[in-house]
């Protein structure tokens, strides 16, 4: 991944920056220019809490090349208390235990590396609570 492309996503990857539409109250993550629900353009910036609940999930056994060392690994759509939803890997547990309803905290982890010499790309992953 070219470094500018990685760098410009810092707000959402590092800080979980989201936006709440002033028109309909819907939360979009990452922030957008136009609300997907009501086409509103006035937003309040908010930061998603670093916790949420699994909406749906899977365990990837056949991964893309960059992730093959980690397979099998769990992926989940997680909803935070603010109503923001995000796709994350869920780690530090048995992948098959990652099922809808599971509570996770969002922890800062290495997501991918660009070959041996490219940049390291970080972000958040889910870790089951308790």
């Amino acid at each position: 991944m070219p470094s500018p492309r990685y760098w410009r996503e810092k707000a959402n990857r590092f800080h979980l920056e989201a936006a709440r539409c002033q028109g309909c109250g819907g939360v979009t993550f990452p922030a957008r220019t136009i609300c997907p629900a009501c086409r509103g353009t006035e937003f309040e910036t908010l930061y998603l809490s670093r916790k949420g609940k699994v909406v749906t999930s899977t365990v990837v056994h056949v991964g893309p090349n960059e992730f093959q060392m980690e397979a099998p690994y769990a992926m989940a759509v997680v909803e935070t208390p603010e109503g923001g939803r995000l796709m994350v890997q869920v780690v530090d547990c048995e992948p098959s235990d990652v099922l809808p309803g599971l509570e996770v905290s969002l922890e800062f982890r290495l997501i991918r590396r660009e070959g041996h010499g490219g940049i390291l790309c970080y972000g958040h992953k889910g870790v089951p609570v308790g």
Partner: protein, 348 residues
Amino acid sequence: MAGIVGYGAYIPRNRIKSEEIARQWGKDPQAISRGLLIQEKSVPGLDEDTITISVAAGRGAVARAGIDPALIGALYIGSESHPYAVKPSGTIVSEVLGVTPEVHVADFEFACKAGTEAMFVALGLVESGRVEYAMGIGADTSQGAPNDALEFSASAGGAAYIFGKERLLVEVLDTYSYTTDTPDFWRREGEFYPRHGGRFTGEPAYFKHVLSATRAILDRSGYKASDFRHAIFHMPNGKFPLSAGKQLGFTKEQMAVGWVVPLMGNSYSGSSPTGLAAVLDIADPDDLILITSFGSGAASDSFVLRATDLLPQRVERAATVKSMLEGPRHYLTYGEYAKYREKIILND
């Protein structure tokens, strides 16, 4: 007076037992465990490195300090395993913790001493009045060469300390550093594994520096060993710190809480800082605490600390060392360990 206003630690969940490593190389597991006093060590996940460990520990420190991270004016990370050879770990950690952009950042390296080095400099900047708060972090995902004695100890983890002048959890009463040029352990640029001088790492290196630094700080501060409730000495294995402490007049009871190496291994720059975090997790107000680190090359930093009334009230705001050491663990086979530590040659 300046001191610690927040601290946090992080230990990865993966572990490998000494006997599993011993079996791999045809060594006697009991002899190894007895010799090193290490039962198991922490292993970073494929997605954990000095940066992620620093963030996890740093978040704990911010939570316990209860301060706006933007007020942190300096952030230093000591590690011998910074993920980038060129490009600071500290910028990423500062950004994620919400410390940027008004902050002075640097990555330190001094073998196993880089963590206390970061703390030492952070403290100095606060004491001088140059910054209001400063964070010093020690973190590592150290590598020992396969079938080397270090493979039984080199582990992963770290701790972060925020220094300030108000609402102290711990007062820093004195500091001292003792440094000479001693080539007992090194890793050249571009090399994957470190090398060491075998028994040369003992008397002329570890013991000379740990004993000299500790004796000097006791002398300077006017305390004697028996004044301290807790003492932490750098833990390259289980035996060295106990032996050093004994020579200095400390009892096993004084060293017990900070002696985290049997279940964690040696997390290099994270080692004595994590031992200190384990002590702070349970310390009572007014407890006197001594910590002496050691880094090959070689030097020791010593700190004399005293817990305040506030400390016990802040402990529960973040995970304790005990909860991570004894909490859910995932044990690896040597094969999985070799995969996690990228010791297996793969095609591109």
